[in-house]
Point group: C2
Chain length 340, copies 2
Amino acid sequence: MQVKIKDVAKHAGVSVTTVSRVLNGEKYVKDDLKSRVNRAIEELGYAPSQIARSLVRKKTNLIGVIVPDLTSSFYSTILSSIEEMASANDYNLLVCNISEDIDKELKYLNVFQEMRVEGIIIMHEKINEPIRNFIHKIKIPVIFSSVKPMDQKFVSVIIDDYQASYEATKYLIELGHETIGFIGGDMRDITSGQNRYSGYRNAMTDAGTKLVFEHIRFGDYKVKSGYDQMKELLSVEHPPTAVFAVSDDMAVGAMNCIRDHNLRVPEDISVMGFDGSQLTELVRPTLTSMEQPIQQMGKVTMDVLLKQIAGETISMSDVVLEHRLVARESCRNRNEATRM
Amino acid sequence: MQVKIKDVAKHAGVSVTTVSRVLNGEKYVKDDLKSRVNRAIEELGYAPSQIARSLVRKKTNLIGVIVPDLTSSFYSTILSSIEEMASANDYNLLVCNISEDIDKELKYLNVFQEMRVEGIIIMHEKINEPIRNFIHKIKIPVIFSSVKPMDQKFVSVIIDDYQASYEATKYLIELGHETIGFIGGDMRDITSGQNRYSGYRNAMTDAGTKLVFEHIRFGDYKVKSGYDQMKELLSVEHPPTAVFAVSDDMAVGAMNCIRDHNLRVPEDISVMGFDGSQLTELVRPTLTSMEQPIQQMGKVTMDVLLKQIAGETISMSDVVLEHRLVARESCRNRNEATRM
DNA sequence: CTGAAAGCGCTTACAG
DNA sequence: CTGAAAGCGCTTACAG
């Protein structure tokens, strides 16, 4: 049996009320009693039950987080930054890794509700009807991090994906590339699918560069799909001289595919990534990438969520963070490249 | 105000006992009442409070996990596998990312206790005195995953690090390498520090290969330290022709360093990693690695922990899983290599 | 098959 | 400054 407050009270010869008071650091307890209580706590190895405390206080200090893929460097970095902020504010994280499994998500959302988490963070945008209904119904604050699903009720902490993608493409154009392949995301995703595609498309047409149907492909953000889609890009009659993949993972997959076909990055083909994950510095050549402020994204997400929990009436607008193109080795000027 | 069981009872015109019964799927409730209750639950959007339920059942379905570094591919993969098993068994994960911060760990361990988690998983072996005392004192099952701290009270799910390291080294020796550099871990770590070093050392001396002091270095398992230590190895008069790093991350760092010095892997220097993380297939050349069964490690950890929670008297012995050397491109026969 | 009552381990007015 | 009592939202004997 766990020792409980009653045992401590008995041991110290005081009432449970008094024990509770020293537990919660209230003043108005004589030093004499306070030290007796503390000694009893020490001697009995007492640890108050958060469960019981939560019940009466109606406060759990719990936050539920739904991660699409824990093993992804991008998400685990956001999560780690969320965790840091949470911990600093005495919140604990209940984490759920749904790997494309929508049923699991719904189940977890229910668990979150039953656990009376004070806030929910969601990091993907594949929101189906039951989930949409659910998050609209509950009165727990919900916030989206790194994505913005088609839904105006919730705050999203994101970058301007359209603009970022536009600039990334423009960068390649300015490097002299006239054929730029695109490895996009899931077009059902607004943020990372549609917006990034639009940015690419408009940058191309604005520059008077023609869009080549065979140069436009879509993956699932993971390394393997980058590899597979690149393979397709290499198999067309006139492969592009540069490729823009909307995730670093896919960009790395593309780079590997290019190398496995005995071509060189960036001499033969330039590769541009997106996200700014650890991978960028880890591969060779290092990967030029349109970077999201990943750490900050996690931090700001928790910041805003904590405010929502505190009941501050948040203006329902999104938080849009700065993106930044970090040039590394994987992209090269087309003319220099051909000269080599 | 949250709707509670009393509201449902009133709405359905039954007692809370009856509502509780249908909630918990007990038989002995007339279909008539059952459907009235279910309708009331539906209409009111009622979700039972796990907090209250936990209090009376003395069961939280919570497991606390302490991860050294969420952004590491190795740990996040174990965590993801733990999460999967937990979820399948209706357990939820409270995760704590301590980044070398021992104070944070102790704080979290306290939180875990107060939250009445049913089990605790720890994935590192830097156990200091206060933490040791703490985990020895609490009556919550504690299990170590991927490490075995110097302590006999707890079960560890591990591989035979000594043997794995011995075999990895032997593999390089059999490839004809006579000078094999070593990038080890923290020698305060029994499992991944001392045991892996011993395996290397003994494989070398058993083969009659002499240990070269300047060829033996120690990092912190991360990419950067692999890079830095490799730089040192390259600066000695006679650099080794092969390098064994005790983590894939360090091995990748070493590979990058070698390349940045205009040397080739594996033509000039072979590189062997350890862990079997996603990186192995992702870098070029692909990384030969002594692999741990990462997924299985997470799964088995949860398996054993669940048994301990169920009160099964576990024989206090560790679970030792199979390691496996996976040969890829980064290691080459010394003679072939020099011929090129 | 159904319900009234006690109790899970705390906190918090309320009274003194 | 201290304590008795009510209550947080459930479940579970117990009685019928």
